[in-house]
């Protein structure tokens, strides 16, 4: 990987979705990058991150008409100068016969915004913050199939074209923060998923119990109301 990088590019394995991530927020960009390149995604994604729609267009070669080397665009909606919506339209106009899938993200859950993007051809609209459960939606939008993809020549990405790009295989070094956070025992993912439903089940049990109690009380009052009144009146 270092040799390829030194030569000016990165090779991508077959069946891996090459995602162009576009977001002006460094925090959101990093979270999305790490989410898509984590072990839980099993290496399904190779992420190239840029901080503006303009840089995304340059990377896609929308200005020079060069061949794109991207399988999917994941873009934020609200960005300065050029929004994600404008980028969406530009990407779809690039190759109408074989358009690149575009997924739009936004922190605003506005139905008008969502329908606007979907009508413009977006494959999906994800409300931020991006979470693990959104990864499957991204896989569904991708045209790359893990085991049944056509052979293509290895992709060599030019680092200079990406500008602020951060390939997912590389871990950025942040000055002053080189310490590990938590070295924890890893719970099996299925036990974590089950544990998410336990509070709901407990709530359900208590609600049922409460309903039964109220029903029992009503039954007792209705059946014993005559006797209790007699006792009070005696």
């Amino acid at each position: 990987m270092e040799a390829a990088a030194a030569a000016g590019g990165v090779e991508v394995e077959e069946g891996v979705t090459r995602v162009l991530l576009v977001d002006d927020s460094p925090v959101d960009r990093r979270v999305a990058q790490l989410l898509l390149s984590s072990d839980s995604c099993a290496g399904s994604f190779h992420v190239i991150a840029v901080d503006s729609a303009k840089k995304a267009m340059e990377f896609l070669g929308l200005k020079d008409g060069k061949e794109q080397a991207i399988d999917m665009v994941l873009t934020d909606y609200c960005m300065p100068e050029m929004t994600g919506y404008d980028l969406l339209k530009a990407v779809k106009a690039l190759n109408p016969l074989k358009p690149i899938p575009v997924v739009v993200m936004s922190s605003e859950n506005e139905p008008q915004r969502i329908s606007r993007c979907l009508n413009a051809g977006a494959e999906d609209f994800i409300v931020k913050p991006l979470q693990s459960k959104d990864v499957q939606r991204l896989r569904n939008c991708s045209t790359v199939r893990p085991n049944n993809v056509a052979k293509r020549k290895p992709l060599v990405l030019q680092p200079s074209a990406a500008g602020a790009a951060l390939p997912s295989g590389r871990r950025a070094n942040f000055a002053g923060v080189a310490m590990p956070f938590l070295s924890v025992q890893v719970l099996h993912s299925s036990s974590v998923e089950v544990s998410q439903y336990v509070p709901l089940l407990l709530k359900l049990v208590v609600m049922v119990y409460a309903v039964l109690c109220v029903g029992e009380l009503l039954h007792r009052w209705s059946s014993g109301s005559g006797c209790s009144l007699a006792l009070w009146c005696a």
Partner: protein, 177 residues
């Protein structure tokens, strides 16, 4: 022994952060991502990025609000960005104060925006202090087994059971009347 005491301190700190609403489920999601995704240092990295970004945005907002004529569109854009990044790391209180700030921006209320900025700044500083403590304590507290997922799960379960107890107890007592 020292590690155990520090783990206790870390537990208490995290518990208070969740209980006070300083952080929400998204923070736990990041933890799970770190644990399941094999990316050690992920949370520290994101938290540090957020703190630096939020510091920058708050400084920009202060400068904008000091201008004789305030550009509320720019102010709104910055607040929107801060709201987004705070949501991404699970900084719940900061996110909520940003939402209130945006409403004041839309009404072009300068004094209100200045007060809102003070509120956002205070909430952010509070959160940053706790994050910094966490990042300092963690490496020393981890000289022993500690499962963060189990811990946060237990904290949330405790709160849930407390609420359930409040509902269940009256019902239980009434059955014996």
């Amino acid at each position: 022994m020292a590690a155990a005491a520090l783990r206790e301190q870390l537990n208490a700190l995290l518990s208070s952060m969740y209980a006070s609403g300083l952080v929400d489920d998204q923070f736990q999601q990041l933890q799970m991502l770190q644990d399941d995704g094999g990316t050690p240092g992920f949370v520290a990295e994101v938290v540090t990025l957020f703190c630096d970004d939020a510091d920058r945005i708050i400084s920009e907002l202060a400068a904008l609000l000091e201008q004789p004529v305030v550009d509320f569109d720019k102010v709104d854009a910055y607040v929107h960005q801060l709201k987004g990044s705070s949501a991404s790391v699970g900084a719940q209180k900061v996110k909520f104060t940003c939402m209130q700030f945006r409403e004041l921006c839309q009404h072009k209320n300068r004094d209100g925006c200045i007060m809102a900025l003070t509120l956002v700044r205070n909430e952010f500083y509070d959160l940053r202090n706790k994050f910094q403590t966490m990042l300092q304590v963690v490496p020393y507290a981890l000289k022993g087994p500690f499962d963060f997922q189990v811990f946060t799960g237990i904290v949330k379960m405790e709160h849930m059971l407390l609420n359930l107890k409040r509902i269940a107890c009256p019902c239980f007592l009434l059955t014996f009347v």
